[in-house]
Symmetry: C2
C-alpha cells in the first residue's frame, strides 16, 4: 500500500510541476488574465482539462504557487547575502542585497526564463499583488535588509524613503523584464550577463537613494 | 453641397473622437490585446460594429492615433520647457524637461485619466513600441533635451548613459501608472499632486544619472 501511495504521490507531484511550468510560461507570454485553466491543462499535457482546478483551485492559488517556488529560492540567496552584509554601514551593500538575489536566481534558472515577466504582472495587478507580495514581505531576511538600508539613510524623510522604495522596486522588476524578453527574442542585450545588469542597477539605485531632496512647497 | 459636406465631416470627426476615447479607456483597463474592435465600437455607441475598422483600420493604427493625440500635447509643453531651459548646464533642469511634460499633461487632462496605463503598454510591447515610439523620438525638442542632458554628463560611458536612459523611462512610465491607478481606484495617494510626483522623480533621477559607475570586470 505505501509503495502504491508513494507512486501516486510522485505522479501528483509531477502533474503539479508540469502545470506550474506550463502556467508560468503562458502567463509570462500572454498575460495572466488571457490564459484559461483549460489552456494550461492542455499545455501541461493533461488530458483532463479540469486538472488545474483539481490541483490548484482558482487562478489566484495557481499564481501564488508559481510565485512561492521562486521566492523560496530567492529567499535562500538573500539569507546568505544578508548574513555576509550584516554590520555594514554602506548603502551600496544593502542595495546589492535588494538586487542580486533576483538576478542570481534568474541566472541560475538558465535561459529562457519566464519569471521576470510573470513577476512584473504580479506587481502591476492589485489583486495578484495582495495575494502574493505581503506574504513575501514577511521574510526575516528582508526585514534585516530594510533595517540595514534605513540605517544608511538617517536624514531621509519617511515618505521620500517609501517613494524611493517603490521606485527601486519598479526599476528592478522592469529591468529584469527587459533583459528576459531580449533573451527570449534573441534580441541584442544591453548587458553581457545578469550580474552586469545587477551592477548597473546597484550603481543607479545607490545614486537614487542618496539623491538630495528638494524643498517641498 | 459644401454645408452638407461640412456636417458630414463634423460627424466623422465626432465618431473618430468617440472611438479614440472608448478605446483608450478599454485598453488602459483591460489591456490592448484583450479588447476587440467590436467592443470598442459598442462602447463608443456605434451601432455598426465595424466602425473601428472603417475609421482606423487595424489595432496598430488605432493605438498610433491614440498616442498621437497625447504626444502632440506633450510636445507642446516640452517645446516651451526646453526653450526656457536652453543654455542650462544643470542636469536637474534637463531631467525636469524629461519628467514634467508628461505629468503636466496628465494633470491638465483631469482625473480620471487612462493615458499613463495605455502608454505603459505601448512601452512594454515590442510591436506597439515600434509602431509608436520611434516617430515620437523624432521630435526636435526631444533632440535638444537629450543634447542638453548629455552635455551635463561628459564622463559617463555611452553604454551606461543608454542604460540609465532606459531606467529613467521605466521609472517615469511606472510611477505615473501607479498614481493614475490610485486615482482611478480612490486608493491612498503617495503624492498630493502630479507636480509633487514629478519633483520626487526629478530628485531621484538626478541622483541616478549622477551616480558613480563601478569598475567593470
Amino acid at each position: 500500500m505505501s509503495g502504491r501511495g508513494g507512486v501516486r504521490q510522485e505522479k501528483v507531484a509531477a502533474t503539479r510541476e508540469a502545470i506550474l511550468a506550463a502556467a508560468e510560461q503562458l502567463f509570462a507570454e500572454h498575460g495572466v488574465y488571457n490564459i484559461s485553466n483549460r489552456q494550461i491543462s492542455n499545455a501541461a499535457g493533461q488530458g483532463n482539462t479540469a486538472a488545474v482546478n483539481y490541483h490548484f483551485g482558482g487562478k489566484t492559488d495557481l499564481v501564488r504557487a508559481i510565485a512561492a517556488r521562486h521566492t523560496e529560492q530567492i529567499e535562500r540567496i538573500r539569507v546568505r547575502q544578508v548574513a555576509r552584509t550584516e554590520g555594514s554601514g554602506e548603502l551600496r551593500d544593502w542595495v546589492a542585497c535588494m538586487v542580486r538575489p533576483l538576478t542570481e536566481h534568474l541566472e541560475a534558472l538558465g535561459s529562457p526564463t519566464w519569471y521576470a515577466r510573470f513577476n512584473a504582472q504580479v506587481f502591476a495587478d492589485p489583486a495578484l499583488y495582495d495575494a502574493v507580495v505581503p506574504e513575501t514581505m514577511a521574510s526575516p531576511s528582508l526585514r534585516v535588509l530594510l533595517d540595514g538600508l534605513n540605517a544608511c539613510l538617517p536624514g531621509l524623510p519617511a515618505d521620500v524613503k517609501a517613494d524611493r522604495g517603490v521606485m527601486a522596486r519598479h526599476l528592478i522588476v522592469q529591468m529584469c523584464v527587459e533583459r528576459e524578453r531580449a533573451l527570449a527574442d534573441n534580441a541584442p542585450l544591453a548587458h553581457p550577463t545578469w550580474s552586469a545588469l545587477a551592477s548597473g542597477l546597484i550603481d543607479a539605485l545607490t545614486g537614487l537613494w542618496n539623491a538630495p531632496v528638494s524643498p517641498r512647497p
